[in-house]
Amino acid sequence: MVFQVKRPTKLSDLWDVFTEYPEAYPIAGGTDILPRLNQGIEHHDVFVSLEGIQELRGISFKEDGSISIGALTKLVEITETPDLNIFKALNQACSKVASPQIRNQATIGGNVLQENRCVYFNQSVSWRRIEPCFKLGGDKCYQYTGSPKCVALFQSDVAPVLMSYGANAVWKGARKTRTVPLSSIYMEAGKKDKTPDEILAELIIPPFSGVLHSVYVRETIRRSFDFPLVSCALTLIEKDSTIDSACMVMGSAGVMPRIVPGVEDLLLGLKINDLGAKIEELRTMGSKEVFPFKDSRTDVVTRKNFAKALIKKAINSIINA
């Protein structure tokens, strides 16, 4: 295992690295890529460590009420920032990612850009079959036999929550900066809508007026240090005692988090205490968005039932808060 690690200390130096080494693979905390490197699953000749670029760090509260979270902000820093406590679901998600060791090192940018995972791809190389799977450049899926494309799950805890807040992603490159909804960066087969010469610089939670209610719940096999089998982020904004805005996102629901369509139409104008009457409809709507994925951990029916149970738990948690 031999590779180079470039260490720019400002963005302008990073652009020079990308010009000289277009294939350079960015490392923030490294908690996603480095284990894959150790397992021999993946190799890159050149890495670029973002650690020293201060412009990508920090949490700032803007005058317009929006909040900017630098992509290099560590998950543990988010859980320890009292001013972010109002974003309860964000705190819940950041506190549940993997283990303390990972949360101390992993960044929010890395979390929302993490590789999709599957039981075949993320196993030791020695168990690999000769013909590569889609993710390895081949034309078959061993995890989901017969699938015409890679269906590895995107298992971020944080991305569904940020999407439920309507967060934007700010990409910076040598020539331009672009701001897009976080939900738009996730593409089929686990690909992300980014070019190799740009970097995720910050995540912006837009301003809101009213009372924010948000919750994140997930189902796992182990109580901690596990990827979610399925998860649910629910955000409601209450104004004049009624729901003014609503968004529900299912996580680990397929190759990308899924915003459940129709939730805002269903809940608009309701009182929080009357949400219970809509639980059944929300359970049906939410579980429909969960891709019928089966693996060695759970089957299709159970995964969908977990989703239904989580939606009920999320709603009750907001009613009883």
């Binding site: 295992m1 031999v2 590779f3 180079q4 690690v5 260490r7 490392i27 490294g30 908690t31 480095l34 284990p35 894959r36 150790n38 397992q39 000749d45 460590s49 650690e51 543990v76 993997a98 283990s99 303390p100 060791q101 990972i102 101390n104 090192q105 901690s224 240090f225």
Partner: protein, 167 residues
Amino acid sequence: MSEHKKIVLSITVNGEPRQDLINEDTMLLDYLREQLGLIGTKRGCNCSECGTCTVLLDGRTVYSCSTLAIQAEGKEVITIEGVSTPGELHPIQEAFVEAGAVHCGFCTPGFILSTKALLDRNHNPSKEEIKEALAGNLCRCTGYVQIVEAVQLAAQKLYGYTIKGGV
């Protein structure tokens, strides 16, 4: 490309400021074990799952197997060798021995460091807080009961708190 590129790493290990010539693609675990001979930090799964390679980086636990040594540049690393003073056990280590929390011992350095990181911030943790703090460390011998008891005992030894909910 086959040559390792060398760089100078400035780091503080167990209180000693150092500058070492390392390969830039060296993992922190390899630097500590192979270059400094600090073999108390173990290589287990080598992919961030078992916690035997846990060290403290600026007071927080990280998996040294999946951390590049250069990510520790300018920072302070504490390994199990830096926890105690020569010839004397740290109170956390004493507690692990007294509570029977050490069986084969391979996971113990990682558990001790996770415990230290917890107790440095929270002098009187609940059982749930202890379990969460140790979630990233696996032990295949003890079944964890004695380990949780050891952490409670360590909190008592270090800070005098009576054990919540009994041992």
